[in-house]
Symmetry: C2
Subunit: 203 residues, 2 copies
DNA sequence: GTTTATACCACTCATATGTGTGGGTGTCAA
DNA sequence: TTGACACCCACACATATGAGTGGTATAAAC
């Protein structure tokens, strides 16, 4: 992922400035704010930069609207992924990021079907889901064999692995913990959603 | 956490509209866009709503700037945490969220000391860190006993638990894997940062 | 040698936009 | 009954703002 490689130094500075403004103030800057920040005396100069950045695919501009700059995915938002552990030293220069951690996949940005649940208990530790972890869940009413799901069993929500096997004309569905100390669950349940991510925060 | 409880139904609708616009289009709406959306024929009406929402602490308004609406923390951004698993059914009404998952803690929003590394190997599985997981790392040059850290050993980055014991005038420092099959590491290393979070995505 | 891209400038123009003034109705508590 | 508040309206005003036109200079590319 070659990020910010095909830009000139000045173009990169302008792009970074816009990113900063959005991150810090929540809204993109106006053309004149950019001009003032860089000491440009003409808005045309900024327009040239925006055109260049637009042409290179770093941003989108909605015409006729104020603060219309919209950064595109490749502009490198979010947390930079700088490398792999156990694979040599990561290059700590942010410009060399392999990619960017895209938390939008999780956010309820484009839909309101995503929510989070805090994990209690240890029934999924072998799947790396520990007490206190946060499961990020997408509401859905169907699942495939092997999916991690949130199920409602006897009025209690739980995270388990969804199992579905077709055995000689019969469909077997059950829930599987990821802990040797627990037994598979064959009770009736209702499917709430699928776990699309797990997040753990260390204080 | 009583979210959106002290608002009238209409005020809530306006707030939700603003949230939606920010999420979907990246920038807050203008006063006239709000008015148009709700069928108000006067911008003054919107101003009244914004004043009410501002007074109740849901948003901030920067004067004299276009699209100046800034949502405040309590306005309930991010992914709603709807409850705990294994603790009764979660209330799937978003208005009843216990809180909101704050990914800002991780983001390099206000600093550029945060980055991510993809985990290779199984040396930390007992700490719930699996191959393919993404470690979110804050750069720092010191750590406390028990911290999960990213260390550079012989030109290779690795995640391990930092151990530091003072034993009769001596300071012992070593690195501890979270896997019985691996041995503690007493080699020299340099500290890159502390793991402040772990993220796992399921496709 | 011509073209293209980058990197600036000055100036104008239409309008998008926040703000202000002043008005109205209804409800509910003091 | 007075006041605070929610909920609407019309209209005016200054300016913030995107967009347009038309320049200059440099350097690389073809």
């Amino acid at each position: 992922m070659e990020i910010i490689k095909d830009l000139t130094a000045k173009q990169r500075k302008v792009l970074l400035y816009i990113q900063d403004k959005i991150k810090q103030e929540g809204i993109p800057p106006t053309i004149r704010e950019i001009a003032a920040s860089f000491g440009f005396s003409s808005t045309g100069t900024v327009r040239d930069y925006l055109e260049a950045l637009k042409k290179k695919g770093y941003l989108k501009i909605a015409p006729k609207k104020s603060r219309c700059i919209e950064l595109l995915r490749r502009a490198g938002f979010g947390i930079p992924i700088l490398g792999n552990v156990m694979a040599g030293p990561p290059d700590l220069a942010f410009e060399e990021a392999q990619g960017y951690l895209d938390l939008d996949d999780f956010s309820s940005k484009y839909n309101n079907n995503t929510f989070a649940l805090r994990i209690k208990g240890d029934s999924m530790i072998e799947a790396g889901i520990f007490e206190g972890d946060i499961a990020i869940v997408r509401k859905q009413s169907s699942a495939q064999d092997g999916d991690l799901i949130v199920a409602l069993i006897e009025n209690e929500a739980t995270v388990k692995r969804f199992r579905h096997k077709a055995k000689s004309r019969e469909h077997l569905i059950w829930l599987e913990p990821a802990n040797k100390n627990y037994q598979p669950i064959h009770k009736e349940f209702s499917l709430i959603g699928r776990v699309i991510g797990v997040l753990r925060k260390y204080v």
